[in-house]
Amino acid sequence: MPIPTTELPSFIAAYPEILMAVSALALLMLGVFRTKDSTTLVTWIIVVVMAVAAGLAIRGTHDFQTFNHLFVINGFTIFAKVLTLLGAGLTLLLINDWAHDEKIARFELPILVLFATLGMMLMISANDLISLYVGLELQSLSLYVLAAFHRDSQRATEAGVKYFVLGALASGLLLYGSSLVYGFAGTTNFDGLAAAVKSGPNTIGIIVGVVFVIAGLAFKVSAVPFHMWTPDVYEGAPTPITAFFSIAPKIAGLCLFLRVLVGPFAAMIEQWQQVIILISILSMAWGSIAAIAQKSIKRLMAYSSIGHVGYALIGLVVGNEEGARGLLFYLLVYLFMNVGTFAVILSMRVKGKYVEQISDLAGLSKNNPGVAMALAVLMFSMAGIPPMAGFLGKFYIFVAAVNAGFVTLAIVGLLASVVGAYYYLRLIKIMYFDEPAEAFDPPGLTTGIIMAVSSVLMLVFFIVPAPLVNGAEAAAKALFLG
């Protein structure tokens, strides 16, 4: 009787993920056995691990599938993973500073961030609806815990529960959509789906399935009308966790969105395009309008990120290489804008206590001109005013849209950006025009550096965008080849 031989799958493509998973487990042990508080140590080890993982991802084999076609790497996934790791690593540094101030430094905190990031890496590389779901859930479950990490705080707990309940619902939608797709197309593999969808006929069942998948994904990137959880969770969660929420999962989520829609469902572009156009317009409009009345800067940032997701989705609507390039470049700029802004928010401390009302910024330009200038640069960038990188981000997106004939969408987007400019300007008004409120404590070293670097990068990216755009372009090419 012949013994069935199982060939061992090739692990090399997944080295970064394996490294991260193993380190996470090892660090848990380290934290438990080390009697002293090891948050800082663990944080820095994780930052190094993430850097190494990014290095491994960049140097890894290109265009490769493994684990029975569940897992894929190519130029696109590499770019997306590096962005995600960058976002996660930078916020991790912010988290560490804060955790010590708030006296809730626990080594589990950075490890949860590492797990969430691992989930994002997996979903970016997913080549099957099953592996997509597993990656997404690993990310989501870690994020639920992170939202409620400040467990003695009522608001944080509430945010965690809210996030969990609604997140579970979205996961359910996604899973239900996947099952419909599987039922009607007969496979969950992306390549198989692409072939099945292309050869058609695409029955109503598969279309409904795709719509459910889109709904699930839209929830994860908090696009309108699936955004309701965002302001509450952003406000309730501890600030650096909010920073993390607004960056890495958004980047990973949008990259995943792009991969799913232009990968397996590319041939159905006419069907899903309408849905994304609607989501995009609603997000841009509601993100700008609802932000106007906000008093808490964290809620403001929630609506701001909803608006930015709307702009990025225009790149997805276009659905070609140019659109993907615009989206990726936008995400890159978005990453640094948000990291920088949250660094400023984290330096809003009066006598050791964190404050988060917009009015607390009053007169910052007199009390702390450096911080005010950094935030002003970031706000102008968010509003998309040249000469800041935010303008180029929007420019690349809108160029792609106009080129593909979506002129109305571009006009709506640009008008929404004027409304959006109003509330970004309001922050500047409060900092520069209003009479000073109580002065903030000087920002911590890491926070200060991150703030300064990201605001300087807004100008640098604007002056020499070519290398970054080339990177985004290579990634977009790989996406459409694969």
Binding site: S365, F395, F398, L414, L415, L425, P465, A466
Partner: protein, 519 residues
């Protein structure tokens, strides 16, 4: 000597002029010390930087070749290679004088703010230097995206200047200024993107050579119009201007009236007219109509103002009405007149705002009724104010006359009615300016606080004297300015009329029946 001139010709001089102020701003950022020292040093660094920038900009005037319509002092570097968008700078006879206008007014603004600005002096000076970079860059940009970047970039420092150092409802005015202009600008951006996909590049000379199809021209024209009309500003989108002027600090008003309004007129000349000739002809009656309304209506509004700055702001709208008429009349005299009017309005209205600033610094009110009889205790001031007032009225021998005269002459050849109606603005202009002057400068010197006002101090004389020289020079020997623009304007109009002649039969201007009836 040859080595020196060789060096100057090979120096990227436009970039040097554009970015020198930024270098000054970086120096100001590095100043350390207590508040007093920082403020004093910032003022000096800003003054010397802007003066040096002005001197450097004189070099391009001396080196400029008058006989040609070509772009000169060109520079080009790749910037966004995927889209063939480059950092392309250059000036021709139309834009060169605006560069000089910007560099001429900025040091004056710095001097005008010497004592009136006491809070956050460092930031103020940085804002002005950044503003100068944006203005100069905008007039030098030879790539449409680059143009747009500078065009919008101007908003940032100006927003802060009005909002931080302004008075009255400064926050409201700053927001109104910013959002009005931004709304117009984004439509310009859409038009720009649409044009880019027609031409395949955003290089301005190449876009000028491209023939856009007629149908698309109308939409593109409207997109640009939304932006430039707000900037000029044309009636009925002028309402941001009086607010912005009233609440801005003196130097802010000076730059706003002196340079920022010219961006709209310059935009029409650089983009609408040469790139979209069919649409420009089609919409010319619309522009004429709005401009005539602007000239007459805002002049009447100016007549009843009680706030000096508001009065001059409304007069700016009226004066810019001549510019838009001149541009779209599209005859040699009219277009040169429009450019000349922009330059003369640039210095004259700037000077008028400075004159308001002088008395505002002393009495801290802009209410016309609070003054009166200033000629008795401020004779030097009365003299300077009179020169600028007469220039604004358009008295022959001053700068204001040449521009208005050329515009009206040129327009008369196209439409006598438009010229006639616009000419009423000259009369109304005389009315409100003389009325203002009478109320402020003449009359009995009765009010006790006005009696105590001192005449111009040396710093103020240093600010106003160069402007008087320029105003008289422009009025007495305008050829030194007209010569510069001759070739470029002739070339612009030749291309414009050639493009129209090719399709002459097809285009009936918008409302042409109405116009025929008017004739």
């Amino acid at each position: 000597m040859t080595a020196l001139s060789n060096f100057i010709t090979h120096l990227p001089i436009l970039s040097a002029i554009t970015f020198l102020p930024i270098v000054g701003a970086l120096f100001i950022l590095m100043i350390r010390g207590d508040a007093e020292v920082v403020a004093r040093q910032s003022r000096y660094v800003a003054l010397w930087t802007t003066l040096f920038t002005f001197l450097l900009s004189l070099v391009i005037w001396f080196q400029f070749e008058n006989g040609t319509a070509n772009f000169q002092f060109e520079e080009r570097f790749a910037w966004l290679p995927q889209y063939k968008i480059s950092y392309h700078m250059g000036v021709d006879g139309i834009s060169m004088l605006f560069v000089l206008l910007s560099t001429f007014l900025t040091p004056i603004c710095i001097l005008a703010s010497w004592e009136s600005i006491q809070k956050m002096v460092r930031e103020y000076m940085i804002a002005f230097l950044v503003l100068e970079t944006m203005m100069v860059g905008m007039f030098c940009a030879m790539d449409m995206v680059l143009f747009y970047v500078f065009f919008e970039g101007v908003l940032i420092p100006m927003f802060l200047i009005i909002g931080v150092w302004g008075g009255g409802r400064r926050v409201y005015s700053a927001f109104k200024f910013f959002l009005y202009t931004l709304t117009g600008s984004v439509l310009l951006l859409v038009a720009l993107l649409a044009m880019y996909f027609q031409v395949g590049t955003t290089d301005i000379p190449e876009m000028m050579a491209f023939k856009f199809s007629r149908d698309i021209q109308f939409w593109l024209w409207l997109g640009m119009f939304a932006s430039f009309a707000v900037k000029v500003p044309m009636w009925p989108v002028h309402t941001w201007l009086p607010d912005a002027h009233v609440d801005a600090p003196t130097a802010g008003s000076v730059i706003l009236a002196g340079v920022l309004l010219k961006m709209g007129g310059y935009g029409f000349l650089r983009f609408s007219l040469p790139m979209l000739p069919d649409a420009s002809l089609y919409f010319a009656p619309l522009v004429f109509g709005l401009s005539v309304i602007a000239v007459i209506y805002t002049s009447l509004v100016a007549l009843v103002q009680t706030d000096m700055k508001k009065l001059i702001a409304y007069s700016s709208v009226a004066h810019m009405g001549y510019v838009t008429i001149g541009v779209f009349a599209a005859t040699q005299q009219a277009v040169e007149g429009a450019i000349f009017q922009m330059l003369s309005h640039g210095v004259v209205s700037a000077a008028l705002f400075l004159c308001v600033g002088v008395v505002y610094d002393r009495l801290h009110t802009r209410d016309i009724d609070r003054y009166g009889g200033l000629v008795n205790n401020m004779p030097k001031y009365a003299f300077a104010f009179m020169i600028f007032m007469l220039a604004s009225v358009g008295l022959p021998g001053t700068a204001g006359f040449v521009g208005e005269f050329l515009v009206l002459t040129g327009t008369f050849q196209v439409s006598s009615w438009v010229a006639l109606l616009a000419a009423t603005g000259v009369v109304l202009g005389a009315a409100y300016m003389l009325y203002l002057y009478r109320r402020v400068v003449y009359g009995e010197l009765t009010k006790s606080d006005v009696k105590e006002m001192l005449d111009l101090e040396p710093r103020e004389i240093a600010i106003l004297a160069p402007i008087i020289v320029v105003v008289m020079w422009m009025g007495i020997y305008p050829m030194s300015f007209l010569d510069v623009m001759d070739a470029s304007v002739a070339n612009l109009l030749k291309n414009y009329h050639d493009a129209l002649a090719a399709k002459a039969a097809e285009i009936a201007p918008f409302g042409s029946n109405l116009l025929a009836w008017l004739r």
